[in-house]
Subunit: 431 residues, 2 copies
Amino acid sequence: MAHEITAEIISIGDELLIGQTVNTNAGWMGGQLALIGIRVTRVVTISDHRQDILDAMSAAVADVVLITGGLGPTKDDITKEALCDFFGTQLVRDKEVEARVVDMYRRMGRDPEDILEMNIAQADLPEGCTVIPNERGTASGMWFERPASSQGGDGVESRVFVSMPGVPYEMKAMMTGGILPTLKERFRPPTIVHRTVLTTGLGESLLAKRIEAWEDSLAAARIKLAYLPSPGIVKLRLSTYADVDASAAHQRVDRKIAELHGIIPDLIFGEGEENLQQVVGGLLKQRGQTLSLAESCTGGYVSHLITSIPGSSAYYTGGVVSYANAVKMEELGIPSDMLELNGAVSQPVVEQMASGVRTALRTDWSVAYSGVAGPDGGTPEKPVGTVWIAVAGPDGVRSKRVHLPGTRDLVIERSALAGLNMLRKRLLEVA
Amino acid sequence: MAHEITAEIISIGDELLIGQTVNTNAGWMGGQLALIGIRVTRVVTISDHRQDILDAMSAAVADVVLITGGLGPTKDDITKEALCDFFGTQLVRDKEVEARVVDMYRRMGRDPEDILEMNIAQADLPEGCTVIPNERGTASGMWFERPASSQGGDGVESRVFVSMPGVPYEMKAMMTGGILPTLKERFRPPTIVHRTVLTTGLGESLLAKRIEAWEDSLAAARIKLAYLPSPGIVKLRLSTYADVDASAAHQRVDRKIAELHGIIPDLIFGEGEENLQQVVGGLLKQRGQTLSLAESCTGGYVSHLITSIPGSSAYYTGGVVSYANAVKMEELGIPSDMLELNGAVSQPVVEQMASGVRTALRTDWSVAYSGVAGPDGGTPEKPVGTVWIAVAGPDGVRSKRVHLPGTRDLVIERSALAGLNMLRKRLLEVA
């Protein structure tokens, strides 16, 4: 194999060192770089001190050094000054960036006299760097090249330094919009073929047990498997190097994924970057059908998941969050004696919630949730984590009770996914 | 001031570098160390490679070096071997730890013959280190002291290295149970006083402009200020060293925070780890009042925020997510000609949404949202990011239009906070 391309990440920010902000950027960047065949060897997190920044840059030995943070307009942000020191250059105002910054503030409704010199100074950038436009904020990215030999490297290849803002959604847009494609073009790392299969319904260790024989067969196909668990979901990532012929590598992976579909058809709900709410939304859209929700213990979270997908208004009509019992009765047509007799967390109530919201909002489908998210409110019969979920559709109402582990947040998250997965399966049945 | 005590953290694990696991340990440790007056200057995250571990240890210059990860029983965990290399020692079996490990497996129900040599080898520890017992797992912590002079340091004080498992709840128990108190005893660091003031309603740069004179006055009080921005919120962290008398330092910070309340009373909504939904919930609870929500563009997210707080059922009755116009009309009593005339994103509609849900759910307060979250649906008159928000209460309905920047997720997030802050201010007015 050719020379492995390596990267280092320098994360700048006092808030990262004291845990006020969790450094999610570095891991995301590492994952994205891995996808194009560049391996991150080290992440260094430091504070907004000039000398610390210079030391970290001097110590870098990788082909690519990605730096985030310290590009804000306030006095504590000094990354640009450190970059000027390191590259022996100075700040000059970039007229194009200046116009963009002013325009951005204007579009946000800021009066021209309120656009401060501090804001305009966001257009002051180190002379000689390649400016990476920021579509989502005022801090530009900066791309520098420096011969490796001048740092005592092997002198064969130059080293690339890229400085980006630490705001995740600004950094991510820069990475995917320009930096990752340019790095791929520039270093031509060996191609890695990745595919990620999404599963829900079984935890990591039970899933591993069920696919054990299949997993053992991957080595012969030179495929590496990674389990990527998150609450309620386990992603299975298959990866392999493409030697000469990328299509052969794709075929090897395709074959193994087809086998996996034969082994756990009930658990797989999608692939890649999809999520369950997208998959469900896609199925509803295909069928031209609509959805409504009645949420008690999930408190609006499922509605939030559904509406986080652009275009969800095509199939999502709306929902009712019934936190007080009075709302359940009035909005969802639940008789008060049904509530008294069974309690809110019960099969009859959750089924009536589903039917009630489906009728009220005249949708094809509805999902209802009633449970004990905790930390309080549990009883010996209905401990924290007990959740009733119902799906109502053209072919009637069905419900099930689940017992979900974890804190309040996790019970809500896992309930949401369990209900969406019930709906997904029903949609596939009816099709 | 006495010599500042510094720490470095070395986080070991391939999974951290590719984003499979987010490195939450380092930030937590940094926060804990800050509380006892030890400043983390650098976090270095590396993979489970012997040379990378040795390089990171050699490069450390802080008084304390805390290492996590790589202590598991499997072959890819090699931190102990690297420690032996670094300190010129070797692994020896610790009989006491061996007994504890065997006992731990037994209590987990493992048959004695199923306790593998791999598991027993968890009791092999570098000769000469001080063993830190692990109450929650089989990997012991290890404490090493090394004269700074042998590493080219100033030779005055020795450097402490502590190696711990990467499993967060094992590491945390070791830190709070023994390492933090011992470090405090050993280094007697100066006490740091921290307080964080939470603001919403102005971005970082406009806020900085408004408190410029106050910020300039902090130096004389030996207080450092940090801006910690996140979407819709800017936290202001004040910190200072307590020299001899900690109460004097508290007074200095208290005085400055009191001044700040005088300058930006409209922007401050809380302190420390609070969030806006907690503050609003607390105000409602104090008053014995109730809340309902009518959400269009926010799609249930505000309801989710409110219900993410344990005990929110005491004041939150429920809400309606009206994604389709039909839901707005029926559930919230909006005349169809009002919708036709003004469009859903308009002042009359959002005010009727707020009044409608307040009446339907018989609550003291309600908040309603109608806007264009994007990415589609914007028009020249109502571009993406245009959001109408109304608060209805005992003293009537008031509304305002905001223009919020960012992606769909951010428009939703910022809308939610803007509405909760409107509600907070109204609650304070009426009080």
